[in-house]
């Protein structure tokens, strides 16, 4: 690669790349994010390459492995350009047909197309309801580029924002633009990025640092992973622009080690960017020096907290520090450090290219721009969605998410990860907005949006989050370390059938000290799941405690499995599948579960054919007395013999 020594060089390079590309040439793209990879997209890609080769089509049809498309529920995803035909759930066996129909017949493989509720097939990616209602200004480029090839990013206009900033704007002007756009942090805090940049810029000291927080510890959130894997350059470009505005010459990307593909794509991107002279000394001949180091996490949620992360970069165990002196003033090695989330940085080139007014025209009064959410849990369309701030939860969950799986009933949506709260159906028309979500007792957080249904126990969910946080607590301060442990003990008792009157009040009392006196944000927000579920689902807690009943049928200690003799048809499946041989019965004889042996593994419930649905979960009342052994099953025409 030839080093680019000026803005003009970059434009020449861009023109050169584009001149070699024919927008009308068919290109088969295969989504290669971790999700599709787990579903076998590698094999699909290989099959496509072989098939094209076999048919002598290598020069006629391009193949490209792209970043994550977001529709993870339906992977592996293959999109054919230029028509943007979208094939879902593609297997290697489908490839010959895809290739032949694309190149020769220009027909469609119907069975791989999206089918909507009325049975209509939708061919174009943009028309699929999942995508149609999104606004993918940040995430959209993933599907157009191969993250391992910087030329794809440049072809789309990449690094033009950087060139504009270096040669046409002063650092102060960049700062003003970001401030006017009102870009708020996308990692959870929602703090105005422009203000943070300004504090860092104005802090005393010549050496300043910029950091990308790619620790993404919230379980259920994978937006940052997909951005970093799928379009690392968007993040890097934003980072370099920020460094210029702040006056920093050294940056760090802190990536959690559970994301090996993100680490490797990022490392490759960095080497390509350096080769082109877009990173390092004298970037594009502007005189601005800046370089970046990659630092991997080692498996601790708390190290994603900004002061802890900076301590880890110093090579010391990543524990939070008391935050009265902001890290923007005293951060890594006590030097001014500006830390922002992956998605925050990725928005910067867009703001520079399109202007702060454009950015501020999207979203609500207090929350500008878009937000990428990981919509997961009991929805039909699991995946990553990018929507303008202000869209309602209802629209996201139903119109984009396709509603609740298996026709079940919506119960709650959890936003903000372990620091957030659960919102019930009554709040489903709430707009996604930093302040609105906080007012309701939850928060935006990094973008995790977990939908739960009638089969989810809210006390169990609160216990899950609190256990997670207690496990991840660094243990330095007493309220978090001991307080959370005690809250887990109480929640274990409640879910274990040993709840006592007064437990809810004790949980609230502990929550107060943990929330108000903990050293860092982990502890300070840790009681949110418990408090929000008590606020909106108190009756469930009370059922567990007073009636020893789990309304959702989840808490093992409070449920019993029972085969309804009126529905059992003695098919024998549950008897065979029971791992502890707790079911007795025979052909034509009602099957009976031995409650002493039953381990509540749920297998019988899962395997009983839907047309019988004979296995039921009973909670809060005793299991009906077993019928005498040898009782016959209901036979033909529903009459008992």
């Amino acid at each position: 690669m030839v080093r680019l020594k000026s803005a003009a060089d970059l434009e020449k390079k861009r023109a050169q790349i584009l001149s070699k590309r024919d927008p009308n040439k068919p290109c088969i793209t295969v989504c290669s994010g971790t999700g599709c990879h787990a579903l076998g997209s590698d094999k699909v890609h290989q099959a496509i390459v072989s098939e094209l080769s076999r048919n002598g089509l290598k020069s006629k049809v391009d193949v490209r492995r792209t970043g994550c498309h977001g529709f993870c529920e339906r992977g592996p995803i293959v999109v054919i350009f230029p028509a943007e035909i979208c094939y879902l759930g593609v297997k290697p066996g489908d490839v010959p047909e895809v290739v032949s129909k694309t190149s020769a017949d220009k027909e469609l493989v119907d069975r791989l197309l999206y089918k909507d509720a009325s049975g209509e097939r939708i061919a174009h990616e943009g028309e699929i309801p999942f995508y149609k209602h999104q606004r993918r200004i940040v995430f959209g480029s993933n599907r157009l580029i191969d993250p391992k090839n910087i030329d794809d990013y440049i072809a789309l206009g990449g690094y033009s924002a950087l060139a504009k900033v270096l040669f046409e704007m002063s650092p102060e002007e960049v700062l003003e633009t970001v401030k006017r756009a009102n870009l708020r942090g996308r990692g959870g805090g929602g703090f105005p990025a422009g203000a943070k940049w300004e504090t860092t810029r104005n802090a005393p000291g010549d050496i300043k640092y910029v950091v990308v927080n790619a620790d993404e510890g919230d379980p259920g959130a994978f937006m940052d992973r997909s951005l970093l894997e799928g379009n690392p350059h968007s993040v890097l470009e934003g980072l370099i622009i920020g460094a210029y505005a702040i006056g920093s010459h050294e940056g760090f990307v802190y990536v959690r080690q559970e994301y090996p593909l993100a680490v490797s794509n990022l490392t490759l991107a960095l080497s390509q960017v350096r080769e082109y002279g877009l990173l390092g000394k004298n970037i594009l001949g502007s005189g601005f020096d800046f370089d970046v180091g990659v630092h991997r996490g080692a498996g601790a949620f708390v190290s994603g907290e900004s002061s802890a992360l900076m301590t880890a970069i110093e090579g010391i165990v990543g524990e939070p520090r008391p935050k009265y002196i902001r890290t923007a003033v005293s951060g890594i090695w006590e030097r001014p450090t500006n830390l922002n989330n992956v998605e925050t940085w990725a928005n910067v080139p867009l703001i520079i290219n399109n202007g702060s007014d454009w950015f501020a025209s999207i979203g609500t009064e207090g929350s500008k721009g878009t937000k990428i959410f990981s919509l997961v849990g009991k929805v039909n369309n699991t995946g990553l969605v990018e929507v303008p701030m202000g869209m309602t939860l209802r629209e996201i969950i139903y119109t984009i998410g396709g509603g609740i799986r298996q026709g079940k009933k919506f119960k709650a949506v959890q936003t903000g990860g372990p620091s957030g709260g659960c919102l019930p159906e009554s709040l489903i028309d709430l707009p996604v907005d930093f302040d609105e979500l906080t007012k309701a007792g939850s928060m935006m957080g990094s973008g995790g949006m977990i939908v739960v249904d009638e089969d989810t126990c809210m006390a169990d969910l609160a216990r899950y989050f609190t256990t997670f946080l207690a496990d991840e607590s660094c243990g330095k301060c007493i309220p978090c370390r001991v307080g959370l442990e005690q809250m887990v003990t109480i929640l274990d008792r409640i879910c274990g059938g040993e709840g006592e009157t007064g437990d809810i009040e004790l949980l609230e009392e502990l929550s107060e000290v943990v929330q108000d006196v903990s050293l860092c944000a982990l502890g300070q927000t840790a009681p949110n799941p418990v408090l929000s579920t008590i606020r909106y689902f108190r009756d469930e807690y009370e059922a567990h405690i007073e009636q020893k009943r789990c309304p959702a049928g989840v808490c093992k200690a409070l449920i019993s499995y029972y085969i309804d003799p009126n529905k059992c048809s003695a098919c024998g499946i549950c008897l065979r599948e029971c791992p502890v041989e707790a079911i007795s019965g025979a052909k034509n004889l009602v099957h009976i579960i031995d409650q002493e042996k039953c381990t509540k593994c749920n297998t019988c419930f899962e395997v009983c054919p839907t047309r019988f649905s004979a296995v039921v979960k009973i909670s809060g009342e005793p299991v009906p007395a077993a019928l005498p052994l040898g009782t016959e099953v209901v036979r033909k025409k529903g009459k008992r013999e």
Binding site: G475, K476, P479, R481, V482, Q486
Partner: protein, 202 residues
């Protein structure tokens, strides 16, 4: 050095810029309880006992006085009902794993804790670890583990050089007396990293 004027518990106090609320209060003869604070060590903020309530521009919040710097016009309450409530709760939580603190706890009206925990007689104030690192430079004792599994442990390789036997200055610092008790007769065996690793869940 610039002077800062603030109000603590109704008393007008003059402090030097860069001082913490705790230092300013002590200078003015106002008592704030602490467990993990030591003049020779960088403030740590682990025990949270020194929590106080500050008000400014009509807004009130809780801060840890050992790490919060004085500011002009700050109104501080070291014994408001909220602060007392929080202190009591902290002591009750500490008492569960360090029953030896019962005397201090009863001073704040905390008798029998409602909580059960593994009795380690350690509140992880870190005085031993920090003193050995910052004052002695020996780094003979460290933290291992995370969360409720966090423990203090002497480094076998350093103890075996005999340097701890000669020093033993951390013994007097330990607010629960755990260190002198568990090294009774100057045997560090039970409390070294290898020993702790052998008996903890992970």
């Amino acid at each position: 050095m610039k002077k800062v004027r603030l109000n603590i518990d109704g008393k007008d106090v003059e402090a030097k810029e860069g001082m913490t609320l705790l230092e300013a209060a002590r200078d003015a003869g106002i008592h704030i309880p602490t467990l993990c604070y030591h003049e020779k060590l960088a403030p740590y903020g682990a025990c949270r006992l020194c929590t106080v309530e500050i008000s400014r521009n009509g807004e009130t919040r809780l801060v840890t006085s050992c790490v919060y710097n004085v500011e002009n016009g700050l109104v501080v309450r070291t014994d408001s009902p909220k602060v007392i409530k929080m202190r009591k709760m902290l002591l009750e939580l500490m008492l569960a794993s360090a029953p030896v603190l019962s005397e201090l706890a009863s001073q704040y009206g905390v008798e029998k804790p409602r909580f059960k925990a593994e009795v380690t007689q350690c509140i992880l104030c870190g005085l031993c670890v920090r003193y050995c690192a910052e004052v002695k430079g020996a780094n003979a004792i460290t933290f291992v583990g995370r969360g409720v599994n966090r423990r203090v442990a002497f480094i076998d390789e350093v103890v075996s050089t005999g340097v701890c036997m000669d020093c033993r200055e951390c013994f007097g610092l330990c607010p629960t007396g755990k260190i002198p008790r568990e090294t009774d007769g100057a045997s560090f065996e039970g409390i070294t990293v290898q020993a702790v690793l052998a008996r903890t869940p992970w």
